[in-house]
C-alpha cells in the first residue's frame, strides 16, 4: 500500500538506481545464464533420448542427428526383454540400497561420535575421515586388489567377481563423505540441545535417535541421496572387480555387453543409459527440497 501511494504521487518519475531497476537487470542476467546452462547440460540427455528412439540404420545414416524420421520403441523392447539388462538392474539396485543403508548406519553414528562425544583424538579422527575422502578411487583399487587376493589366500574367501563385493567396496567412497556432511550438520545443532536431553535423562543413543536424527533429517537425506548416486553410478570398481555377465552392475553391464569388439549398439546403449538414469532422477524429484535444505544448512540461522 505504501509503495502504491508513493508511486501515485509522482507518476512517470524516472527510477535512477532504484532497487527495482537493479533487480530487473540482475534477473535478466540470471535468466540469460540459467537458460544457457540449462541448454548446455540438457543437450546430452536429450540427444540420448532422441538416439534411443531411432533404429540402428537411422543412427548410422548421415541424416540430421536431432530429428527422428521413424520413431521406434524397438531399442526399449529389445533391452528390457534381454535377461542381462534386468540382472544388471537388479544387481545395481540391491548394491545401491545395501550401500545406502550400510553407509548411513556407519556415518550417522560415526559423525555423532566425532561431532559430540569429546574423546581423545576425536578432532584428528574427523580430519582423517576427510583426508580419506580426498584419496581418489583410482589409487585405491590396486591396493584393494592386493587385499582381496590376500583374503583369498588366508581365509579362502573369493571376493573377486561377485556383485555383492561392491556392497563392502563402495562404502570406502561413500562413508567418508557422508560422515563429513553429517559432522558438519551435527556440529550446527546447538550444544545446549544435547545437554538438555542429557539432563532430561536421555542416553547417548536416545539423544541420537530422538533428538539428533530428527533435527538433522535434511542433512541425513542429503547424505542418503549423495550415497545412492555414487553407488548407482560407480563404474571403476565394478569394472575392475567383476567380469562375469551375471555379476555386473548396470553402468558396467551396459558398456561390456552392448559394445562387442568395435561394434557399438548405440541405440541400446543410449536406452540403457537413459533407463539407468531414471532411479536417481526419481529420488531427486521426491527429495529435492530436503536435498537443498541439507546443502544450505548452517547458511542461515534456523
Amino acid at each position: 500500500m505504501a509503495n502504491a501511494s508513493i508511486a501515485g504521487e509522482a507518476p512517470g518519475r524516472p527510477k535512477y538506481g532504484s532497487m527495482s531497476r537493479d533487480r530487473t537487470w540482475a534477473l535478466r542476467w540470471s535468466y540469460f545464464f540459467l537458460v544457457l546452462f540449462a541448454i548446455f547440460f540438457l543437450m546430452p540427455p536429450i540427444y540420448m533420448l532422441i538416439t534411443s528412439l531411432k533404429t540402428s540404420a537411422e543412427i548410422s545414416a548421415a541424416t540430421n542427428p536431432w530429428w527422428i524420421s521413424n520413431p521406434t520403441l524397438q531399442n526399449y523392447i529389445d533391452l528390457l526383454s534381454q535377461n542381462h539388462f534386468l540382472v544388471f538392474f537388479r544387481n545395481s539396485a540391491i548394491v545401491s540400497i545395501c550401500v545406502v543403508i550400510l553407509t548411513m548406519m556407519i556415518s550417522v553414528i560415526a559423525a555423532f561420535a566425532l561431532a559430540r562425544m569429546k574423546f581423545w583424538g576425536s578432532a584428528t579422527l574427523a580430519t582423517g575421515v576427510f583426508l580419506t575422502y580426498l584419496i581418489p578411487e583410482t589409487l585405491l583399487f590396486i591396493p584393494l586388489f592386493k587385499m582381496f587376493s590376500w583374503v583369498n589366500e588366508v581365509f579362502g574367501i573369493q571376493l573377486m567377481n561377485h556383485w555383492w563385493t561392491m556392497i563392502i567396496l563402495y562404502p570406502t567412497l561413500t562413508v567418508p563423505f557422508a560422515t563429513w556432511i553429517m559432522i558438519g550438520y551435527f556440529a550446527s545443532i546447538p550444544k545446549e540441545l544435547d545437554e538438555a536431553a542429557l539432563i532430561d535423562g536421555a542416553t547417548w543413543m536416545q539423544t541420537l535417535t530422538k533428538i539428533f536424527i530428527p533435527v538433522a533429517l535434511p542433512g541425513i537425506i542429503a547424505a542418503t541421496i549423495f550415497t545412492f548416486t555414487v553407488a548407482w553410478a560407480q563404474f571403476l570398481y565394478p569394472l575392475a572387480f567383476t567380469t562375469s555377465t551375471s555379476e555386473l552392475v548396470l553402468p558396467v553391464g551396459i558398456i561390456t555387453t552392448l559394445i562387442k569388439g568395435d561394434v557399438f549398439n548405440w541405440g541400446q546403449i543410449m536406452t540403457g543409459a537413459l533407463l539407468g538414469a531414471a532411479p536417481p532422477l526419481i529420488i531427486y524429484a521426491f527429495l529435492m527440497d530436503y536435498y537443498i535444505a541439507g546443502l544450505t544448512a548452517g547458511a542461515t540461522k534456523g
Binding site: P190, E192, L193, E195, A196, L198, D200, G201, A202, G302
Partner: protein, 366 residues
C-alpha cells in the same frame, strides 16, 4: 529437602583455574543468584552443579548426597538454558513431557503434570505449537515449563533472560519470581546483570576471578559490601571511589580527599577506623545517592561542599551530576529541580553516615 552444598569446588581447564575452590551452602527452597562479570566462573559453577562439567576438585552435594560422579539425569535437577534449548522438532507438549517419557512415567501422570505446569506458566493454548512458532518470551516459558514438569530437587537457570529485549526481560523476571513463589523449589540462577540478581535473589553470591567475593541478601550486599569489587559491582550508577587519607585531630577523625576537601568521619566509626590513620592506599566509597543537592534540614553526618559540575544527565525522576575529584569522575544524584547546570558551581551534600572506607591494596572494605 534439597539443600545444595559446595565444598572447596575447583574447576581446571588444562592449566587455567576457572573456579578456585569455592564453598557455598544453599538451603532448601532458597533462590540463590550467582552474579559476576563474564569469565568469573559463575556459569562453570552452575554447570558443575548440573553435572555438565566434571569437577576438578572438592565436593558437590545435592540433598545431602555427594553427586561428584553422578550423571546429570540422576541428580534430579532441571536446567533452563540461555538459548532455551527447546527440541525444534517437538511441539510444546512433547518438549515438556520428553523427560518424563524417558523415565517411563505413566501417560496420565505426564498429562496431568504438563497441563498443571502449562497452567502455572499460562501457556496452555501453546501446547500444540512448535518452538519456531513461539516468541522469545513464550519459548522462555516453555523452557521453564519443561523444568517444572519434572518436579526436580533443584532448578538451575543459566542466564535465562539474556536473549530477551529489555522490556520482556523485566516482565519475565517478575514471572520467574512468581513461579518460584508458587513452586518453592531450590533455585540456582546465574546472571551477569546485577539488577536481575538483586530483584530475584533471597541471597546473592558475587563471584569474581573464580572465587566468591561475598554472599548475602541483596540489601546486605548493597549496604555492607565486603570488598571493593562488590561495592563497585552492585548498584547502578556504580559507587564512587575517591582516594583519601585518614587524619586524626582532637580525638575526631577526618577523611581528607585533597587540600580543600575533607569531611569528619561519623563518631560511631571512630574506633573502627582509628587503626588506619595515616595509612596509604585508602579510598572513600560513597554511592551516588549519598551525594545530593543541599536541603534545608540537615541530618547528622551530612556535609555540604561546593563543586564545579562537568556533566549533567537528566533522568526524569532524578538528575545525575558528574564532577571531578582527585582526577576521578564522581557521580551524584540530585533532584531534577535543584538547578544543576554543566560548567557551573553547585552546592552539594555528602552523606557520610553511608560512607565506606576501603583499603585499595587488599580490596577489602574496612
Amino acid at each position: 529437602m534439597a539443600q545444595v552444598t559446595l565444598r572447596k569446588v575447583v574447576k581446571k581447564y588444562d592449566e587455567v583455574l576457572a573456579v578456585r575452590g569455592i564453598d557455598l551452602d544453599i538451603t532448601d527452597k532458597e533462590f540463590i543468584v550467582l552474579v559476576g562479570p563474564s569469565g568469573c566462573g559463575k556459569s562453570t559453577t552452575l554447570r558443575m552443579i548440573a553435572g555438565l562439567e566434571e569437577i576438578s576438585g572438592g565436593d558437590i552435594a545435592i540433598g545431602g548426597h555427594v553427586v561428584n560422579d553422578v550423571p546429570p539425569k540422576d541428580r534430579d535437577i532441571a536446567m533452563v538454558f540461555q538459548n532455551y534449548a527447546l527440541y525444534p522438532h517437538m511441539n510444546v507438549y512433547e518438549n515438556m513431557s520428553f523427560g518424563l517419557k524417558l523415565k517411563k512415567t505413566p501417560k496420565d501422570v505426564i498429562d496431568q503434570r504438563v497441563r498443571q505446569a502449562a497452567q502455572i506458566l499460562d501457556i496452555t493454548e501453546l501446547l500444540d505449537r512448535k518452538p519456531k512458532q513461539l516468541s522469545g518470551g513464550q519459548r522462555q516459558r516453555v523452557a521453564m515449563g519443561r523444568a517444572i514438569v519434572r518436579d526436580p530437587k533443584v532448578f538451575l537457570f543459566d542466564e535465562p533472560l539474556s536473549n530477551l529485549d529489555a522490556k520482556l526481560r523485566v516482565q519475565m523476571r517478575t514471572e520467574i519470581k512468581k513461579v518460584h513463589q508458587k513452586v518453592r523449589t531450590t533455585t540456582v540462577y546465574v546472571t551477569h546483570d546485577q539488577v536481575e540478581a538483586m530483584t530475584l535473589a533471597d541471597r546473592v553470591v558475587v563471584m569474581n576471578g573464580g572465587i566468591i567475593e561475598q554472599v548475602g541478601s541483596p540489601n546486605d550486599l548493597y549496604h555492607s559490601p565486603a570488598t571493593k569489587f562488590v561495592a563497585g559491582f552492585i548498584g547502578s550508577p556504580a559507587m564512587n571511589f575517591i582516594s583519601c587519607q585518614l587524619e586524626q585531630a582532637a580525638g575526631a577523625l577526618r577523611v581528607r580527599l585533597n587540600d580543600t576537601l575533607s569531611f569528619p568521619v561519623p563518631a560511631d566509626r571512630t574506633t573502627r577506623y582509628t587503626p588506619y590513620v595515616g595509612k596509604p592506599n585508602l579510598m572513600l566509597g560513597l554511592r551516588p545517592e549519598h551525594i545530593t543537592e543541599t536541603r534545608p534540614h540537615t541530618e547528622p553526618n551530612q556535609h555540604d561542599f561546593d563543586m564545579m559540575i562537568d556533566v549533567v544527565e537528566p533522568m526524569g525522576m532524578e538528575t545525575l551530576v558528574y564532577f571531578t575529584v582527585n582526577g576521578r569522575e564522581i557521580c551524584g544524584r540530585v533532584n531534577p529541580n535543584a538547578g544543576a547546570e554543566a560548567a557551573q558551581s553547585m552546592k552539594l551534600r555528602a552523606d557520610l553516615s553511608n560512607m565506606h572506607l576501603i583499603d585499595d591494596s587488599t580490596g577489602k572494605v574496612l
